[in-house]
């Protein structure tokens, strides 16, 4: 009894995986698993708000399409940002690249001289 009473105030801080959440929304969980999701919802306003919002979607399969599109867009954004960052880095340190080119040229020059005189 004490353990169960403790449950009221202890927060699970548990993460629900997306599949479990989708199964809950499609009403495909048994009572015990359903309870676990609802207990987490009660402890976590983020999950509670999310479930309330996801229940408003007309067709549940569209949600997965949205998620996939959002992941693709996110990857594009991150790739764009990485490209910009790399470009910026190149602009910030032109001397480093110039030095590399000069060293390479010197090495080639040394090689040619050595070939000629040895």
């Amino acid at each position: 009894m004490t353990d169960k009473l403790n449950d009221i105030l202890s927060n699970s801080n548990k993460n629900i995986d997306n599949q479990q959440l989708m199964d809950y929304l499609r009403n495909q969980l048994n009572n015990a698993d359903k309870y676990e999701v609802e207990k987490t919802m009660n402890d976590d306003p983020f999950i509670n708000d999310a479930v309330e919002g996801l229940q408003k979607f007309d067709v549940k399969k569209d949600m997965q399409t949205y998620v996939t599109q959002l992941h693709d867009d996110l990857q594009k954004q991150l790739a764009k940002k990485k490209k910009r960052k790399d470009k910026h880095r190149l602009k910030e340190q032109p001397w480093v690249y110039l030095a590399i080119v000069i060293i390479l040229l010197l090495l080639i020059l040394c090689f040619i001289i050595l070939q000629k005189y040895i």
Partner: protein
């Protein structure tokens, strides 16, 4: 990106990697974990599928632009606050929301930790049963069925005849009232 292979790495570790090398790939993995939840939160507030999707994109951009500026300890709580504030701001711009929006992004903290610390105090348990009896009938009934008998919302609606919304509200209000009562009782101890 295949995020499955990073499944064993928890949020804190990913956040630590991000702060260490500032590589946005870590951030991408973290954000993808929460896309579905973010979509749900934005849908709850904006009530429109396309607007919700756009809002999630904006939240992603905001996180990419801002996370490196702060030392965030609890990514999930912080992300929830960013998303919620963004949606409330959108509603305010449309004239549908007037309350003040808390934009102190740094203030995000893990609420569960506080609750756990609170629960660890032994005296809380001793007073729990007494506090439970002080709840009103509806709250006591729903809290008991949910937490002590582990019934799902649907089962509770069938047993009590309350609507799903009423059940959720009785459980949440009951839990909040219990905490308040226990805090008072602990102060008096």
């Amino acid at each position: 990106m295949n995020t499955e292979k990073f499944k064993h790495i928890d949020d804190n570790q990913l956040l630590h990697y991000f702060y260490t090398d500032k590589n946005n790939e870590w951030l991408g993995i973290l954000l993808q974990r929460y896309t579905l939840l973010l979509l749900g939160v934005c849908m709850k507030y904006l009530k429109n599928e396309e607007e919700a999707k756009d809002a999630v994109q904006q939240v992603f951009l905001k996180v990419i632009a801002e996370l490196h500026k702060y030392k965030v300890d609890y990514f999930k709580s912080w992300l929830y606050m960013v998303a919620k504030n963004y949606c409330l701001m959108e509603l305010r711009n449309k004239g549908q929301y007037f309350a003040e929006i808390d934009d102190r992004l740094m203030a995000a903290k893990d609420e569960t930790e506080n609750a756990d610390t609170f629960v660890e105090k032994d005296s809380a348990y001793a007073n729990m049963e007494a506090a439970l009896q002080q709840l009103n009938k509806e709250q006591r009934e729903c809290v008991t069925l949910f937490y002590l008998q582990k019934k799902s919302y649907q089962e509770i609606t069938a047993i009590t005849g309350y609507s799903l919304l009423q059940v959720k509200s009785h459980i949440q209000n009951g839990k909040r009232n219990l905490k308040i009562m226990l805090q008072h009782l602990q102060k008096n101890d």
